[in-house]
Symmetry: C2
Subunit: 465 residues, 2 copies
């Protein structure tokens, strides 16, 4: 028996007075004294459930009055415009088949009361049935689709950079080892160390912390590429902004300088926020009501406003002169803290800000040296209400400058031979950035913790499901 | 200086006699006796390079005559319709800036001669500059975009199921361990075993072999979901069809039976093949010329033909009666080999075939038991020219039947408690399948080895770059 998604019915895509079937789960049941039951049925296709009006003339009406939240049903009936407020259409049920019961409703972890966000996290396999996590899931999907669409429309090629890597090129953070060695019986070298030549890949291997360096290779052939895949940090950061496993979007653009990718970052964020405002208004209204009052307004502001741009050096001056007492002092040469970034975005500029040209000593080896000898062509995009959301840079495309920097930082050129090849053979200026996808979803939804915007969060001490 | 993608120029999207700039890499250079040089410049945006016609009146013409394959350039000039055959437009160059030289062209690994596929694999960081790997990269991207589009248009929600998992639920294959323990100094339990409670996640953790079981949880809330992410097998399979790290597409559909997802598989494959035929005709013509003569024809056939459907039991009868001598004998109860599948698809049906209802003893625990007590509602989609391309099943949604099967297979119900919860609380019939993305790309392009259709292949003994 074919059925129709509830979103199509509520959006008026099916003519009234048509007989339709919906399949989904009970959110609530209410019985009137007049012998009519009202079932709210959701199927995940949109925020609102559809109401099925069930008369007691149905053969299995006694079953209907035993339905509880979470039971699965198939409802067939006539679609009619609803008299009730807050709903466009409802179904006058002619048959209601119960597909799956809940034998003991008292044990159902997602019963119709409100649950704490921590409780939901403990039941990650069932939490998408809630209003909140259902909405997060749809918004997350909307953002992911919009990201692919944005890049595809602009001729970018999606590249899957490797997840397992034998090089910690970026030194961006603690890595997870990937191995098939028998830990109870590790092979040893003559010197008594673990012999990784016996391991699956013939050497020590890790989970990637970034696809960037690999992405640069394809950028140096396809011109415009992006990655969208999982990355990993084995950091013991028990914060609302860190996951051990998270998804990153990393575009890399040939013949592009810092200005070009600052523009790309602005265009991309506006594009995907606009997609959410257009396509997921229902879910965003829920977030505005229940999670973060300004959820819609701040996206609208974001889309409307030009990004501010400021050099790191000038930003430091602004912060020193502003008269505000920060927890951490600001001096030229130190990395900006979240409190500084947010002051710039929320108070000083009252707009998203691109902070550019950071001191080279606080940035990675691959960022392009500026002529002042002190700074590199790095940028962070900082947004009101969240702080840093994007980090990027123009890459050092000059082999001699790159080599000098590798030496300066005590890195072995041999380890970067393939990366250096890109500078030996038809090198081009190029730039890119990284966007942490969960932070983006958290920002859009107003959810305070990235653990609640990914299906099964992985953090220190936790990898259940 | 802004520039235009070569694909836009060759496709006639810019008016002739406009002054344009392209930026890219030299594929070939030819000098005429009349003092004109012809540069073929590619930028990865399409298969063909654009020809720049460079007169010796340019100031830096001596530089131009030293350009070799792989050098990067910026060419500005007037776009004109080309007189030469095989190209629509060319550029009458007014300036040619050399951006990146190759100091010693003899050492350039991607010089303009033909290289073996094995040689290219050894230079994976530069191989996308070749015609072949460039074409693979664009077709791969086209397929990925089409997959997202297909599911998004049908209301499916993309879910990122976890990469790191603490459960080997499916038992689908050898797994990689993920750990931050210091291998030189492993913590031990009282009994002397490795103490994984000290590890990052507080227990032994692995890389996922499939997102399916996790996907079922979201299917049981959002109705229609799909995953598209990396999966891992630590198998020592040195074949042209196996990678240690590969991407999988796994839709999961609530209220769907085996017929429904057989139809979904057919619709999806036709949709994405049609996208390639429509959008990447240039690359497909290359594959048809150089890699697999029937590359285009077989996609066209695939799109036009209805899939055949056959029960496993009947398939075995066909194979036993066909008179062909196979390497492996066929008997009811054994798994079909590639030679059997290909006979069915290529000879008997001469069409893609959905083989359904396999013996339960050769299939996984979660597949739905059929009424005959002997088979399960599993399916494989087998295509002419490649064999199995999709494997799927209706899932066992009945808790008592699932539990009996877990017992029968000696699996611990406690390990599957969250999976069993889906059957306790509003269970629904549901079905899904898995598609190995690299096998799909290999099939479409005719490339014989999956190592050549992913940017940086990971296989036993190899994780370079």
């Amino acid at each position: 028996m074919s059925h129709t998604a509830i979103t199509a019915l509520l959006a008026g895509k099916v003519e009234a007075h048509t007989t339709v079937t919906v399949k989904g789960w009970i959110r609530t049941r209410r019985d009137s004294k007049a012998g009519i039951s009202f079932l709210a049925v959701h199927d995940g296709s949109c925020f609102d459930p559809i109401q099925a009006v069930v008369p007691n003339s149905l053969n299995n009406y006694d079953e209907i009055t035993r339905l509880t939240a979470g039971c699965s049903v198939e409802v067939t009936g006539v679609l009619v415009q609803s008299q009730g407020k807050g709903q466009s259409f409802e179904i006058q049920a002619e048959t209601v088949n119960v597909v799956g019961w809940i034998d003991n409703p008292d044990t159902y972890p997602m019963s119709a009361k409100r649950h704490s966000i921590e409780y939901l996290r403990e039941h990650a396999h069932l939490r998408p049935r809630t209003n909140m996590i259902g909405a997060v899931t749809r918004v997350r999907n909307c953002l992911a689709q919009a990201i692919h669409r944005f890049y595809n429309e602009r001729g970018f090629v999606w590249i899957s950079t490797p997840i397992i890597t034998a090089s910690d090129c970026e030194g961006a953070g603690e890595m997870f080892r990937v191995s098939t060695l028998d830990n109870e019986n590790l092979p040893r070298t003559d010197k008594g160390n673990v012999d990784y030549s016996e391991d699956f890949f013939g050497k020590e291997a890790f989970l990637t912390v970034s696809g960037q360096l690999n992405g640069e290779t394809y950028c140096s052939a396809m011109s415009n590429i992006y990655t969208f895949g999982p990355t990993f940090r084995a950091e013991n950061s028990n914060t609302s902004r860190h996951l051990a496993e998270f998804w990153m979007v990393e575009p890399e653009v040939a013949f592009a300088d810092l200005e070009d990718i600052a523009k790309l970052a602005e265009d991309m964020l506006k594009y995907v926020f606009k997609a959410v405002l257009d396509e997921r208004r229902d879910d965003m209204e829920f977030f505005a009501q229940r999670v973060e009052k300004t959820a819609i307004e701040r996206l609208e502001n974001f889309v409307d406003k030009d990004f501010a741009q400021v050099d790191y050096t000038e930003a430091v001056e602004i912060l020193k002169a502003c008269g505000k007492k920060f927890e951490y002092d600001v001096e030229w040469g130190v990395d900006l803290q979240s409190e500084h970034e947010r002051y710039l975005a929320e108070v000083h500029f009252n707009a998203p800000v691109v902070i550019k040209n950071y001191p080279k000593d606080i940035k990675a080896f691959y960022m392009r040296a500026n002529e002042d000898g002190k700074t590199v062509a790095a940028m962070d995009v900082v947004a009101p209400g969240i702080g840093e959301i994007i980090g990027g840079a123009q890459r050092e495309e000059r082999l001699d400058v790159l080599d000098a920097r590798l030496d300066e930082m005590g890195l072995d050129k041999e380890d970067y031979s393939w990366y250096r090849d890109l500078r030996k053979y038809g090198t081009v200026p190029h730039s890119g950035f990284g966007l942490g996808f969960e932070r983006l979803v958290a920002y859009v939804t107003g959810m305070g913790n990235v653990r609640d915007v990914i299906a099964f969060p992985r953090t220190k001490g936790s990898a259940t499901y």
